[in-house]
């Protein structure tokens, strides 16, 4: 276990090696939050509601996605495809280390850094902007929000790894990732809450795993789902977690059979 802790710790230190790079990255994150925040602030009425959301609820949703982004969507495992294509995987195959856990530890190191800075930045934004914010006081809902966020973290890790494994079959791993990120921006609910979409589209999206990365945990936090809907949602996301893990195991074994250590 200690070795994985060291991997996570090293990732933390790696991120601070190029400090200007890191600073620029954080500025970008703040800018992305502000862009969406001001957009919604402009279209939302101060009183009443729009698309079923009051101003505090929707702005909480937007700021919440910023925090959840750093917990769920921050990752290092995007480099798995390059590892395979450049032959670096061979090195890991010889080490007494689980390849999946290695990347999971790297992801956790990355997430820890991102969460730390995201909380700091959100506090600063709160002090400056004084946004109307919805504070959930129901402890059960907060607990369920935490559970669904952890499931989301696992789902994203598996999806990310699965995309990286395309590297076993093709050197072209960045183009599928570009599409994945584009789809995610829309289907995960980072741009807007998904339930403002037409009902048939929303129903289809509810069956996909993307919905459970940002939208579902935040809806739990906002208290807009019944306990029954939460149980159904958590069940579907757990199903995806298991299904993606099984699929990943199969793809990994088949991929290893094709692996030629190209690039060494």
């Amino acid at each position: 276990m200690n070795k994985y802790f060291l991997v996570a710790k090293n990732t933390w230190e790696e991120m601070l090696t190029y400090r200007l790079n890191f600073f620029m990255w954080r500025v970008r994150v703040i800018l992305q939050i502000l862009t969406l925040y001001f957009l919604w602030l402009a279209v939302l009425p101060k009183e009443g509601s729009l698309l079923g959301y009051s101003q505090p609820q929707l702005l909480t949703y937007i700021l919440g996605t910023a925090l959840l982004n750093s917990i769920v969507l921050s990752s290092r495992s995007y480099a798995v495809g390059d590892d395979i294509n450049q032959g670096n995987l061979s090195h890991f195959l010889l080490l007494p280390m689980n390849y999946f856990l290695y990347w999971f530890a790297k992801d956790l190191g990355d997430k820890a850094m991102n969460i730390f800075f995201a909380i700091f930045e959100l506090v600063v934004l709160f002090v400056i902007l004084h946004p109307p914010f919805f504070i959930q006081t129901n402890l059960i809902l907060i607990f369920l929000f935490a559970i669904s966020s952890l499931i989301a973290l696992g789902l994203y890790f598996l999806l990310n790894l699965l995309l990286g494994f395309i590297g076993f079959w093709s050197p072209e791993t960045w183009a599928p990732r570009f599409i994945f990120v584009t789809l995610l921006g829309f289907f995960a609910g980072g741009l807007f809450p998904l339930d403002i979409l037409p009902k048939p589209v929303f129903t289809i999206l509810s069956a996909l795993p993307f919905n459970y990365l940002l939208y579902f945990p935040l809806k739990i936090y906002l208290g807009q789902l019944s306990i029954f809907q939460i149980i159904i949602g958590i069940s579907v996301s757990v199903f995806w977690l298991i299904a993606l893990y099984k699929l990943l195991a199969v793809v990994w074994l088949r991929g290893l059979r094709r692996y030629t250590a190209q690039g060494i």
Binding site: V27, Q32, F38, L41, A42, V43, E172, F178, I179, L191
Partner: protein, 260 residues
């Protein structure tokens, strides 16, 4: 001038060949760009359906703003894609080879490889601009003229931004996040900057001239931009370009020829 056009054609041709070496990858990238455009458009339609106007602008006005943004953004990426590759030249010392060539290193660093994958996005943006414009109230020839003037001004500002990125690249070896930071800032211009509250709207219009780049041309087209702002926009564009070239010249004196 002729020499530079011929160099651009040659480098762009080579760049196209590289981009099309993996046709599957190129197709996926293109598909990604189109769905990103489509998704934001869907978002605007949904928003407009519920609110009727967005910050006082009608749906077709908003689409015209969005399409103009995409046209400027895609055209900038088409011409200035080489900037995204600049960091590798600096950290590997390959920039030495560019400096010793008998052409302007700034020209080579800016226009050294156009991106063919942006051409379909240019066509798509133009198409949407045309459709949106045909749904707007009558537009005068003078407004169209002002649009072209401010469109050229927007390209000048975009060029100045890229020169700033190159200069920072030489001074700090950091390019990737700086150029993406520029991209993120310009994203604020997808919609008219008037939607942002004070002082954000003023900051992104006059200090970081995103509003002048992205919003002013469309506003001039619709006839809702005063002539004073047109003159101010041109002045800011020229000053911005002048300052960025000064910074580039300064940065060149600090280049340390790393790794060579």
């Amino acid at each position: 001038m002729k020499k530079y056009i011929s160099i651009w054609l040659k480098l762009s041709f080579l760049s196209f060949q590289i981009a099309l070496a993996s046709r599957f990858g190129a197709a996926l990238f293109l598909f990604g760009k189109v769905i990103r455009f489509g998704f934001f458009l869907i978002f605007l339609f949904i928003l407009e359906a519920k609110t009727k106007t967005i910050a006082g602008f009608s749906l077709w006005q908003i689409i015209f703003f969005f399409a103009t943004f995409n046209l400027i953004d895609s055209l900038t990426q088409f011409f200035l894609r080489e900037v995204y590759r600049f960091r590798s030249y600096v950290v590997s010392g390959s920039f030495d080879l560019i400096l010793t060539k008998p052409i302007s290193p700034l020209y080579r660093s800016l226009f050294g490889g156009s991106d063919i994958l942006d051409i379909p996005m240019l066509i798509l943006s133009l198409g949407f601009m045309f459709v949106a414009a045909s749904n707007l109230p009558s537009v005068s020839v003078f407004n169209i003229f002002l649009f072209f003037i401010l469109f050229i001004n927007a390209m000048v500002i975009a060029c100045a931004f890229h020169i700033l990125v190159l200069s920072i690249g030489i001074l700090t070896t950091e390019v990737d996040n700086t150029i993406m930071l520029y991209r993120d800032i310009t994203q604020m211009g997808r919609l008219p900057v008037d939607i942002y509250k004070a002082p954000v709207d003023s900051i992104i219009t006059f200090i970081i001239p995103i509003g002048i780049m992205m919003t002013f041309p469309a506003k001039a087209f619709m006839g809702i931009l005063s002539p004073g702002f047109v003159l101010l926009a041109i002045c800011i564009g020229v000053i911005f370009l002048f300052v960025s070239i000064k910074l580039w010249n300064f940065a060149l004196t600090k280049y340390s020829s790393a790794s060579s």
